[in-house]
Amino acid sequence: MWQWLYKLGSPKWFYTIGNRVLPWLWGVTGLLLVVGIIWGLGFSPPDYQMGDNYRIIYLHVPAAGLMKGSFYMMALCSAALLIWKIKMADIVAKAVAPIGAMATLLMLVSGSLWGIPTWGTWWIWDARLTSSLLQFFIFVGIIALRSAIESRDSAAKACAVLTLVGLVNIPIIEYSVEWWNTLHQGASDLSLRDSSANPPEIWIPAFFTGFGFIGLFFIGLILRSQNEILLRERRSQWVKDLLLTDNAKADTESGINTNA
């Protein structure tokens, strides 16, 4: 276990294992998404209340899950960086931040689109939408802080501290927004109903798209981390070797093409 964690902390190992995992991940993710989307959009029965409008949950719910998951992952990485000084943790935290922000934005946009037929307006100050908006601001703050600090190591640690401060604050923010919403909205909460009340034909495709999105998340994470690894380790021998062999391969391939 520790051996494995130690290896995961090595950028080179992460890079190579990433290359090995990626094709499988693409395949599985593509399959899940295709099945989930075709089933969910084409074959699931319309909802007795919302008709076809509910089908946006196949986008909305996974996005909401990714929003939470990304932040927890960043918090975990931040702790790993501050406590054990694992540099790989910062690479992952940096890679995840924009993915989390995009997922939050996707959740907000899909929620708004859903709101037009359901609530009759694209925005209401619903508790869940409002806390997601605040969560989006926190993602943006972390990204802004990283881009403002020149020194890479300082930026990494500052973002880690801010992420952990956010981790403590997010439940408090959500609680306060929940309280505020009941004060101002009464019991007219129209957000997503408990999905277990829906027939299985509706929520099984949601599982497919949900896992598909998780797959997409990890694909994005690995690709972005690999980019960052190459950038940070560009002076090291293994990256030089890697690029040289890649170039050589490309040269021979183009050579074959010209010969043909």
Binding site: I149, S154, L183
Partner: protein, 235 residues
């Protein structure tokens, strides 16, 4: 030669070191009156802008008064944060602070308490005057002051985290706002909640207790985050 002087000096307790820190900050505020006056003037001017933009309808103004006072006070506190660590960072005193043998946690609390005295207390004292200019009903006055008394220290402590993270950057004003305004939401919600509840004639002691809980949490955790952030910023 050094040993002679050691005998002349005696050890100071933690409280007197904190006292010396507060005295120093008070002296600095006295020499730079802008540290006191500017947040206060921002508060007064910004509140004045509201009737000028939304009209002077008494009912409407009294309805938005708690929110206007709270949001403006919150922004004034945030804008005042710049003077918390900036000068010490630039002249090297921050390094000395971090190298003090005294526990940093308490030194930071002393500094933040001084900042609160200088920047926030005048705002709290003036808030009822501005609230009555916005025709807020008198039942809300005491709860407004109480909620500000409990809420502004939390804002100062959270702002201290943001400031400690950005003190090394040359222009950090807007970045600070982006970092800490989302974190200010609970204080704002419960702070205005207290005043609204009092005006509506419902019980507000539970909300004050929530604010007090936020205060306790902020006092116990923020100095840790601030010291971690300061150590990063001076690197």
């Amino acid at each position: 030669m050094n040993t002679d002087m050691n005998k002349a000096s005696s050890e100071l307790g933690l409280l007197s070191v904190m006292g010396a820190t507060v005295r120093r900050e008070m002296l600095l505020a006295f020499r730079n009156p802008g540290d006191v006056i500017n947040p206060l003037m921002f508060f007064v001017i910004a509140v004045t802008l509201f009737p000028l933009s939304v009209g002077t309808d008494e009912n409407f103004l009294s309805a938005i008064a708690p929110g206007v006072i709270w949001v403006t006070a919150l922004l004034a506190v945030m804008l005042s944060m710049d003077s918390l660590f900036r000068a010490d960072f630039e002249d090297g005193n921050l390094e000395q602070l971090l190298m003090s043998p005294q526990p940093l946690y308490f030194l930071l609390l002393a500094k933040i308490f001084s900042h609160w005295l200088v920047a926030c207390l005048p705002i709290i004292l003036l808030a009822p005057v501005l609230a009555s200019m916005l025709f807020m009903s008198p039942e809300g006055m005491l709860p407004l002051v109480l909620s500000l008394l409990l809420g502004t220290p939390v804002l100062t402590l959270l702002g201290g985290i943001g400031m400690a993270l950005t003190v090394g950057l040359s222009r950090s004003g807007l970045l600070l706002a982006v970092l800490i305004l989302p974190l200010y939401v609970p204080v704002l919600v419960f702070g205005t909640g207290v005043v609204q509840a009092a005006i509506n004639g419902t019980a507000f002691s539970g909300l004050l207790a929530l604010l007090a809980a936020l205060f306790a949490l902020a006092v116990s955790l923020s100095p840790l985050a601030i010291s971690a952030a300061l150590k990063i910023s001076i690197n």
